[in-house]
Amino acid sequence: MLENLIEVARHGPKLLRAGAINVSLLFALIAVGFLVGTVIAVVQVYGGRPLRAAARGFEWLFRSIPAAVLMMIFLYGPPRIGVGKIDPFLAATLALGLRSAAYQSQIFRGAIQAIPTGQMLAARSMGMGRLRAVASVILPQAFRLSVPGWSNEFSSVIKDTTLAYLVGLNEIMRQAKTVYDGVHMRLAMPTLIFVALCFLVATYAGNYLLGVVERQFRIPGLQMPGSGRTMEHSH
Amino acid sequence: MSPLLRVEELHKRYGSEQVLRGVSFGLEKGETKVIIGPSGTGKSTLLRCINRLTPPDRGRVWLEDVEITHAKAQINRLRAQIGFVFQSFNLFSHLTALGNVRIAPMRVLGLTKEQATRLARAELRRVGLGEKEDAFPAELSGGQQQRVSIARALAMGPKLILFDEPTSALDPELIGEVLEVMVSLAREGMTMLVVTHEMGFARSVADEILFMEHGVIVEQGTPRQMFTQPQHARTGEFLHKISELYGEAAS
């Protein structure tokens, strides 16, 4: 056992370098998810009927189709319909990022709807246009209300970066496999435990940082009614 | 003859707060005693200590010749003989009125479903709710819920019933129906220990009134004594204040 641990430790730096790919993917997913999710949420609340329907359809598709299937579609779809070859990182970013957007939009939508209508009225009464009011008055409040739900989503996305393994991205799980594949099967357990610990640390660190950010931006009296009971969507 | 219920030197503290500081009294079979006193003076705690829903720190309680507070007492069997009616009813939310009254006779006393159902129906009729047996708690008014909870206590054939401010959570117009049930129970000879602010009830039904303050019984006596010539100034002040607060109903 001990010699196995030492041997795995030798591979530590390699695994951590691969982990950096998970981290890059995490940022890409969060960025795509945040931007697209915000747009979808705003469209769902303020958009016209056809736009609203489209946004709802988007949400439904990306929340109902499993992540693994989405990634395959984004990996094999573009060449098939003549867009050209797409590398696994981009395929994973699009598939998992848009999926996160669907979940994030749900969180933001709930937050936007929780803001009293008087806020919009007050903004409009001062001459702001609808879009201006959304950007300057509604969203800054909505994002703060979204923090608990969004933190859950963040933890989910950290873990979901491993799913890119399924489209062959050279991330930490795949590197781990190269350590224990073939003749070195006895290394599988210590290697995978090491990876699991990395994720425990990453989840804790992520939540800690989010807590710091949340305190930075907290405004007294601005909280989701009955907050703290949002659901995770990822394992 | 030894009393049905005997309470000796009960003490209870929550953190640094001494809630009960040595409470003693007895209750004869068929008696109704009413406990009054300002809120926060340990009345509810006292009731809960009697059947150990809250464990007392010190002191003893006997039901007839069985010591409830004994470490080896079969507490569930004893509780089955002591009815408890809560201020907030605490009807089981997932059961109908009938289900609420029936479950303990079935699961605790071991009656068959048919026996328990027959018994439960009789008790619901006794509190005037024979028609409501299929209603869930959320479908009943507060007064009706409290009457179901009295039926739930009665179905166990208890030796006595403890009432913890049974009308305090009710809208004024619903208090009467609950008090009516309690009055008729007292008249039928049920042994009752009632914490309440309903002075009208205390005056007309109680064999004895206990005035509690700061975790001790300050004074006890018949309603006539207590209302006309209280021995302690505090008793008189309290009774005066409460009858002002509650107006006609209290006098």
Partner: protein
């Protein structure tokens, strides 16, 4: 786009595997989850901590890692399981942790007076939990539990990574043989969409069937 009807029997077989794995792991997770939740709410401190640690580990690490630990890791310790058993075990242990958290929330949402009233009529602690608290908690938990079941259904599609021939595994196999990657995955996506839709409707039906007036999730805000 080309769709070969010859795919259907194989996909049907895969579907069967998917449903079996999900049903078995959800059932395992349900049993362990309830025990963990009761442990977290009512048990004395050391047991409460153990339950919390279990939940922390399984919620803090990716499901794929857990799946690999069972399939590739356990043989290191002399325990070798088939892909099918590995998937059920890993998913079951994982969903147990999530279900436990939902059960715990539901148990805590049952008002404290219910337990007290149950004890006041002479019920033992066990009777009070089984007859009074759990029947209410299980109704309160249905919406979040449904969500969990559907998540498991979707996440089960990662098990092709350990060679399981579930819906996704069969698709990958067909795709590899016939070079019809895009098409087959679109078909599989449709399968999952239909599956998720049907299951969520069934769960909604269940929720309505066992509904009791006044007994819902408090502050439904999802």
């Amino acid at each position: 786009m080309t769709f070969d009807p010859a795919w259907l029997p194989r996909l049907a077989h895969g579907l069967q595997v998917t449903l079996s794995v999900v049903a078995a792991s959800i059932a395992i997770g349900f049993g362990i989850g309830i025990l963990l939740a009761i442990g977290r709410v009512y048990a004395p401190r050391p047991i409460r901590w153990l339950c919390a640690a279990y939940i922390q580990f399984f919620r803090g690490t990716p499901l794929l890692v857990q799946l690999m630990i069972v399939y590739f890791g356990l043989p290191t310790w002399g325990i070798t399981l088939s892909a099918f058993s590995s998937a059920i075990l890993a998913f079951g242990l994982n969903t147990a942790a999530y279900q436990a958290e939902y059960f715990r929330g539901a148990i805590q949402a049952v008002r404290g007076g219910q337990m007290m009233a149950a004890r006041s009529v002479g019920m033992s602690f066990r009777q009070a939990v089984v007859l009074i608290v759990l029947p209410q908690a299980l109704r309160i938990v249905i919406p979040s539990w449904s969500n969990e079941l559907i998540l498991m259904l979707k996440y089960s599609s990662i098990a092709f990574a350990i060679t399981l021939l579930d819906l996704m595994g069969q698709a990958k196999r067909i795709a590899g043989r016939e070079f019809m990657y895009f098409e087959i995955y679109l078909v599989v996506a449709a399968y999952y969409l239909a599956l998720v839709f049907i299951v969520s409707q069934l769960l909604r039906l269940l929720e309505r069937r066992v509904a009791i007036p006044g007994l819902g999730a408090p502050g439904e805000s999802r």
